[in-house]
Amino acid sequence: MPTYLDFEQPIAELEEQLSKAEEIAEKSKVDASSTIDELKKKLTDTKKEIYNGLTPWQRVMVSRHPERPYTLDYINALTEGDFIELHGDRNVKDDKAIVGGFGTFNGQTVMFIGHQKGINTKMRQYRNFGMANPEGYRKALRLMKLAEKFNKPIVTLIDTPGAYPGLEAEERGQGEAIAKNLYEMTLLKVPVICVIIGEGASGGALGIGIGDRVLMLENSWYSVISPENCSAILWRTWDYKEQAASALKLTAKDMLKNGLIDGVIKEPAGGAHSNREETYKRVRKELIKQIETLSELDNDTRVEERINKFCSMGVVLED
């Protein structure tokens, strides 16, 4: 049974009607194709209508949809399974909340790195809900340096509710690990493309998010804090998450408008989870384009442009 979000109820009803109509047509051998076509069209229209009008908070809900594709789904699709996962930070352990490795993409070896969430309760725990520890960020950096050494482009896929706020994480320097990544990613001599595929929460997302191109999927979000935590701090209650989501301007559209990201990848009507293949196709197309464009620049120019891009972010008044 697919999971439907509250605002997806009209979609759920139409899909049920459609499957019933198809079932009847199958059983009774009656030609119901006109009804079916009508329902299909209505379904597409409804999906479009609902998804075009999503509020920021509803997009946050879509970004967390349990059936939404995760990092390894993208990697498998983009590399058509030709992927070697590499493990460990060479210091402490292998963080399961961040995965990475070499994969073949469009005939070329690419380093893929991303946060990984779990698909069921057991796996969610195993992946620590996509919340990385310092060793996750250090593994990511190790793999990026490896890619740099062998001149392979880097693609990072961002999907995290935040860096893990745990005791050991602090002992092993969560802050230092993220800081180091921001610094080192700035200087990487190969093309770096970052895609926010789901949740982009704060430093935990930014820790693998310094790229020549930072792109967001249409229904992902990216900000300094989750709407729930923002509500808890500024309103002192959890009840204002909708308002907080709007105030934070965390949607792909707003982030692009504010010049904080470089592009938006449109999702199929109904969200990435409703048509995975189409989503992968669009991500693939965008990545091919960006890798080609970035590969034409020489390394120093690319790094300089990356630095200038991040240094221009911010709005100050000067009297």
Binding site: L167, G175, A179, L182, L206, C311, G314, L317
Partner: protein, 281 residues
């Protein structure tokens, strides 16, 4: 009748104009309960001698303590936040911002200065916790970026004194990107082989810890400061256990290898000039 009973001197004889000033808060009490006169506290660089407690101070105090004869030039003093998101929670951000400016007399949560320490040039960017919890928004990021440019221009080392709750939520993703901006900018300072000294003071948490505060060529801290990525309350809620004593203090970070050494504020000038000398000679 004996003389101890009879008043020998006439009442209060000090003329009004010779009376000493009595400023607000004549006494300061440390958390351990040690009391000190505020004038004496100032002479001790705002450290309580009896227990070594470091009172939280602002950029003005740090600049006058660190620079030779307390003399310095303030840099980029006229920058203010632009509120690009028109942020509003229970209050408009612009209102919060203005009221914080009025309350503190400062423009934002960081001030930059240029001066000398034992004759050696030094650019200092110092955070002010009193201004919206020392939170990092566009102004903090931009001032750090400009301080780095200034240090490069003057061929001077840079010191950043961190004292911050982290990112400024009201500037949302703009605030988040200041982590990227400051870290990216520090690569340029490094390219010019200019030292960056990070001095972490109470408290340094969140996005500031996860960016420039942890990126010093040398990371220094004041004794007993709270330093961490996540706040202690959040960690406690996450793990559902009490936190060990001394967790996330400067001493804890020193022990875990993230701080080079701890400097008592009373010795900051001597220790800093020694370090600057090591880099220079």
């Amino acid at each position: 009748m004996s003389s101890w009973f009879r008043r020998m001197k006439k009442g209060i004889t000090t003329p009004t104009k010779e009376k000493k000033e009595t400023p607000d808060g004549l006494w300061f009490k440390s958390p351990e309960g040690n009391i000190i006169e505020t004038s004496e506290l100032r002479e001790n660089n705002y450290v309580v001698p009896a227990d070594g407690y470091h009172k939280r101070i602002g950029s003005e105090e740090y600049f006058s303590i660190i620079y030779d004869e307390g003399k310095y030039t303030e840099l980029f003093a006229n920058l203010e936040s632009g509120d690009p998101l028109k942020f509003e929670d229970t209050k408009k951000y612009t209102e919060r911002y203005k009221s914080s400016q009025k309350k503190t007399g400062m423009k934002d949560a960081l001030r930059s200065a240029y001066g000398e320490v034992e004759g050696l040039p030094l650019v200092i960017a110092c955070m002010d916790f009193n201004f919206i919890g020392g939170s990092m928004g566009s102004v903090v990021g931009e001032k750090i970026a400009r301080s780095i440019d200034y240090a490069i221009e003057k061929k001077a080392p840079l010191m950043i004194i961190s004292k911050s709750g982290g990112a400024r939520m009201m500037e949302a993703a703009f605030s988040l990107m200041q982590m990227a901006k400051t870290s990216a900018k520090l690569t340029q300072l490094a390219k010019h082989k200019l030292p960056y000294i990070s001095y972490l003071t109470d408290p340094t948490t969140g996005g500031v810890t996860a960016s420039f505060a942890m990126l010093g060529d040398v990371n220094l801290a004041e004794p007993g400061a709270l330093i961490g990525f996540a706040g202690p309350r959040v960690i406690k809620e996450t793990i559902g256990k009490d936190l060990p004593e001394g967790f996330q203090t400067s001493e804890f970070l020193l022990e875990h290898g993230f701080i080079d050494y701890i400097i008592d504020r009373r010795e900051i000038r001597e220790q800093l000039s020694q370090l600057l000398r090591m880099f220079k000679n």
